[in-house]
Amino acid sequence: MSQEGYLDMELLRFSTAGSVDDGKSTLIGRLLYDSKSIFQDQMEAIEEASKRKGEENVNLALLTDGLRSEREQGITIDVAYRYFATPKRKFIIADTPGHIQYTRNMVTGSSTANLAIILVDARNGVVEQTKRHSFIASLLQIPHIVYCINKMDLVDYKEETYNKVRAELEAFSSKLDTKDVRFIPLSALAGDNVVDRSSKMDWYGGPTLMYLLETIHIGSDHNHVDRRFPIQHVIRPQTKEHHDYRGYAGRIAGGVFKPGDDVMVLPSGFSSKIKSIDTLDGQLEEAFAPMSVTMTLEDDIDISRGDMLVRETNAPEATQDIDIMLCWMNKKSLVPNGKYAVKHTSKDVRCIVKEIQYKVDVNTLHRVEDNKQINMNDIARVKLRTTAPLFIDKYNRNRMTGSLILIDEATNETVGAGMII
């Protein structure tokens, strides 16, 4: 690795989903192992643990199962984060368990991902879980989905089998709202088309999984069009040197900001110009999502946390009536007409659940209108009324200004994730 190379790598976040026994742990183990990201002491520890459990082969799942109860029960309970890097990119894997609390975990793992890997067993083709995982990935607006058609070694690396599974997947995924869908035939166990190109599938002309992960274009995954700067914190040094300094700190949620740009402050509606974009390393000529910066304005305006800087001619909708797709994440069911705390960007409000329109059957994608009991792992379309206006975009336009969470006011637990429609 040359120094210039590694100081200038991109970051790709991806999630992995698949049903039980489809070789997900093996695939992750393969990616980590072949990119030399499993260390010797980790390998020795899992070799020993596998032996102790009387398993014949080294169980790569033990690498990701971090909690005692997971290792005891042999299941993955919670999303685990794994890291590896190649000379081209650094990767963060959100490994989501397939069977237990799948929706809650997959939503969590997918929420920040650029790409989702969904494993399909070549022998079984599209199963219920495949549909469910695809639906959640599309609901969370993961820009790229890669279907890994695994266990090709068990179907004699036959092109017809791959084509059949691929056709099934294409038919199904065309109903979903995902921009970029890819297919790769591979064998995680044998290593075909994971890092190295398979010699047994000459008929496949596409990239290996690793090549795809290293090269897929992720530059346009953030919104660089609509200027959105939610104020997180107001910086007032009140020192002699910076006596009158008022800086607005936050993370850019969309658009490109430059000194001299006109901005409007929500909710007050006052207009001003950006005076400077300040960082410890000096002033910036421009800033864009997802950078964390501090901006100063030409005019002295009262601005505080929860306010947003936008462009006057391209402002988000300010509204108290909000339509969302809600993923419920708590054992306690959603209370119809119940009141919850809401967090949206840096703004805190309260809301009442005004109407539950329908539930989605995540296996068939059908609407369920006769049962409106929203339990853990359910996904439903819901109308909220908030105590103060939120400045919203649609989730498919901007993942940051289009998302919110609901919090139970008694327990303070995060109970729901909402995607604004």
Binding site: D41, L67, I77, T345, M400, N412
Partner: protein
């Protein structure tokens, strides 16, 4: 159209600064746990960036086991003075003297586990409601399940099976009276990211991270620096070796590695080639497969 891409280090930096600012905004009395190790030094650097041109609006808290490498303490004091930070020291020795902690016995006695009691006491007496720490998910498998905002009950305990889901970058720091949070701004960084960032940002580090001559002895394949608080077995002898430390913890459980890497560039080359995790030199994690999980449940950070 121009391409708006951030390098992985810039993106990680932006995420961490965002988390640190959320802490300042959502909590009344936060603190930054500071051990003098590279991860906490990077956290402090990120905190300076988060609030520039203002000073870091929370104190640094050092849970001092009393078993330190002298170089670390000197570095800590110099850094605090240079940036005008506030330092609060929680003393494990004092907890022992007051009978709140009991010193471990034997040759492998470590004060690492005793940090928990002192940490909880420091949190309570200063009424901190959130403590940021430089833990990373790639360090250890129990940490891989940790949230950015980790909720702790009023005994400081972690309940790994009942963690709040953390979706997008919306962090929920709501809590009841007496409860606290541990917050990990650099969760998504790896050891390599930390070193690359230190190089990129030209961050100063204590000298013991770089190769130097030291009087050491070897026990259970771990190289320990000779100190006056570590008892040696009769058959153990010391020798001079060229070593450096990959992590800095309590001196009684932190091992060194033989190395000639005396610059950041060489350390990065070494980290890229190395085949063991940095916690492989930590005796505190070798006690059992769930050593870290158990300590975290009790309130360790």
């Amino acid at each position: 159209m121009q391409s708006y891409n951030l390098s992985h280090l810039k993106e990680l930096e932006a995420e961490s600064i965002y988390v640190i600012r959320e802490v300042a905004a959502q909590f009344e009395k936060p603190a930054l746990l500071f051990s003098g190790g590279k991860d906490s030094i990077v956290c402090f650097h990120l905190a300076r960036k988060a609030f520039f041109p203002a000073n870091v609006p929370f104190p640094l808290v050092h849970v001092d086991t009393g078993h330190n490498f002298q170089e670390t303490i000197e570095f800590r004091d110099k850094m605090v003075e240079k940036y005008g930070a506030t330092l609060i020291v929680g003393s494990v020795q004092q907890s022992i003297d007051e009978g709140k902690s009991i010193e471990e016995k034997g040759f492998n006695a470590s004060r690492n586990g005793l940090q928990t009691a002192t940490l909880l006491e420091t949190i309570e007496s200063n009424k901190f409601d959130a403590c940021m720490g430089g833990a990373r998910r790639d360090e250890e498998k129990a940490r891989a399940k940790e949230r950015f905002f980790s909720h702790r009950d009023d005994f400081g305990q972690w309940d790994p099976k009942n963690q709040r889901p953390e979706i997008w970058n919306i962090f929920n720091g709501k809590k009841n009276f007496g409860e606290t949070f541990r917050i990990f701004p650099i969760s998504n960084w790896t050891e390599m990211d930390i070193w690359q960032y230190i190089l990129q940002e030209k961050i100063e580090l204590p000298s013991i991270y770089f190769a130097h001559q030291r009087e050491v002895f070897t026990r259970d394949e771990v190289i320990y620096g000779k100190t006056n608080f570590m008892k040696m077995k009769p058959e153990e002898t010391t020798e001079m070796k060229q070593v450096r430390f990959r992590t800095i913890g309590d001196a009684s459980c932190t091992g060194a590695v033989e190395s000639s890497a005396d610059s950041l560039e060489k350390i990065i080359e070494e980290v890229a080639a190395t085949r063991t995790t940095e916690r492989g030199t930590r005796a505190d994690d070798k006690r059992s497969e769930a050593a870290m999980e158990d300590r975290k449940k009790q309130g360790y950070f």
